[in-house]
């Protein structure tokens, strides 16, 4: 019991005192997650918009597939990316395994559907509402997609933030392809897993606190954005 309380106190000191080891891990986590979410947005926004608007055979299959991919098991993605990047794999010559780049690749794969699926839904709903009016105004298909993305921006930013929150909290994929190497690929989640098993509860708890703060912060941002959206022209 005494250990437990002292671990909490120590964790608090680490967080408040901006312990260098702790900040290094937090900073890497944020960089990797942000880079992954940006890559995922670059892929997911056009992909979602395309599936929402394009008419092609098997479209409903694509929608089901996309929605299912939101629940992609991280360890499976980690394993696939590991196989692709390992020395004998198709991308082995790039020597990316156990680097932050490998973690970004794995997380991008995980998060792309998390951004693309709500994008598809948003753009499809808005598209049904706008379609006839935009055509009456003489809007071409390219400008129509731009209009839908812009008018759906609050929902799309929410999807982006959900992707970022998922990335920061994810452990299965990054531990396989990153390897949790100190000062290189150690991020918050992998550090918590390691420190807990080593019995160093203070660092694990400190990182856990920061993870929770990020999750709460992201969700608070979503609430603020929704309120802003409601004020500035959103139904």
């Amino acid at each position: 019991m005494h250990d437990f309380y002292s671990a909490f106190g120590e964790a608090f000191r680490l967080v408040v005192g901006l312990d260098p080891d702790l900040t290094e891990i937090v900073w890497l986590s944020i960089r990797v997650s942000f880079a992954s979410t940006c890559c995922a947005a670059l892929l997911g926004l056009p992909l979602g918009a395309l599936i929402a608007i394009a008419k092609f055979p098997g479209r409903s299959v694509a929608v089901v597939l996309l929605n299912s991919l939101m629940g992609l098991p991280p360890v499976v993605v980690g394993l696939m990316v590991y196989l692709a990047l390992s020395n004998s794999g198709p991308m082995g010559s790039f020597a990316l395994l156990y680097t932050p780049t490998a973690m970004v690749i794995a997380q991008t794969i995980l998060i792309t559907p998390i951004i693309a699926a709500p994008t598809r839904q948003t753009i499809e709903d808005l598209g049904q509402e706008y379609d006839e009016q935009l055509r009456a105004l003489g809007v071409g298909p390219l400008r129509a997609v731009g209009t839908l993305l812009w008018d759906g921006r609050f929902s799309l930013i929410t999807a982006f933030l959900a992707g970022f929150a998922r990335a920061t909290a994810e452990v299965g994929a990054v531990i396989i392809v990153g390897g949790n190497i100190n000062h290189v690929t150690r991020v918050m989640t992998t550090a918590i897993a390691l420190e807990t098993s080593k019995g160093d509860l203070a660092l694990a708890l400190g990182l856990g606190m920061i993870l929770m703060i990020i999750a709460i912060g992201v969700n608070a941002l979503v609430v603020v954005l929704r309120a802003t959206g409601a004020r500035s022209a959103y139904a």
Binding site: E132, A136, V139, T147, D151, A233, A235
Partner: protein, 253 residues
């Protein structure tokens, strides 16, 4: 109000790209129902045409087909002699029964339409404000479209359609859900557009509205244009049995 007086000459001097709007042998089939049943219809000239008829007669479908928004099952539409195309669509104003507004401010809804027709960025806000002024809703310029009342939304949608100076303005029951005050405001704006030289075609269930606004009336029944006549003649002595029954209030289907 800026160009209200100058507009008729301006429109007359420009080569017409939409008028006359013509449908040739239009058939529109939805499942087993034949909604348009061989319609030949032309809107040229000037003034206001009221398109009346019972629910399900095919009025809205006819308007959408003529606007190039839906393709007919058979027959074809021409604008000034050639098939409709997107480039000319802004000159064919269309106002829907339920206004669809972008999730932006009232002003931005209009600048958007102006951007499509290539109005330079610097002129858009000024012209959009003029359009809002003519609709008497300039005080709502900065309001999100979503917070406007039903009447204000329809006025905005009409102002947006007029902002690109269309040759023809087609309205699909624009006042059917509106209060008398909002209806008056819409009618005033439509009539101003007509006076400025815009050809108007208005679908309505409101016979009083047709009497107030129309120069000419077309009566649609069972997917056919049964009768078309100047307003006075139509209301005084409708030539078809269906129109007579409709005016007596007997024909509801």
């Amino acid at each position: 109000m800026r160009d209200a007086a100058a507009q008729p000459e301006a429109l007359a001097s420009q080569a017409r790209v939409i008028l006359p709007v013509a449908g040739h042998g239009l058939v529109f089939q939805r499942g087993a129902r034949r909604i348009l049943d061989g319609v030949d219809f032309e809107i040229g000239g000037s003034g206001t045409l009221a398109i009346i008829g019972p629910n399900g007669a095919g009025k809205s479908v006819l308007a959408r087909v003529l606007a190039g928004l839906i393709a007919p099952t058979a027959g074809h539409v021409t604008w000034a002699g050639t098939p409709p195309d997107r480039r000319r669509a802004p000159k064919f104003g269309f106002v829907f029964q339920r206004p669809v507004l972008l999730r932006r401010s009232a002003l931005a809804n209009i600048t958007y339409a102006l951007a499509i027709v290539g109005v330079p960025r610097a002129e858009r806000a000024g012209r959009a404000l003029d359009a809002l002024n003519r609709a008497r809703i300039a005080h709502l310029a900065r309001s999100p479209a979503s917070v406007l009342s039903g009447g204000e939304r329809q006025l905005l949608s009409l102002a947006r359609a007029l902002a690109t100076e269309p040759e023809i303005l087609v309205l699909d029951e624009p006042t059917s859900n509106l209060s008398p005050a909002a209806t008056t405001a819409i009618e005033a704006l439509v009539d101003e557009a007509r006076k400025a030289g815009t050809r108007v075609a208005m679908i309505t269930h409101d016979l009083g509205q047709a009497r107030r606004l129309a120069d000419e009336v077309a009566f649609v029944h069972h997917g056919r244009v049964v009768e078309r006549a100047p307003r006075e003649a139509f209301f005084a002595r409708p030539s078809s049995a269906e129109a007579r029954a409709f005016l007596r209030g007997e024909l509801v289907l």
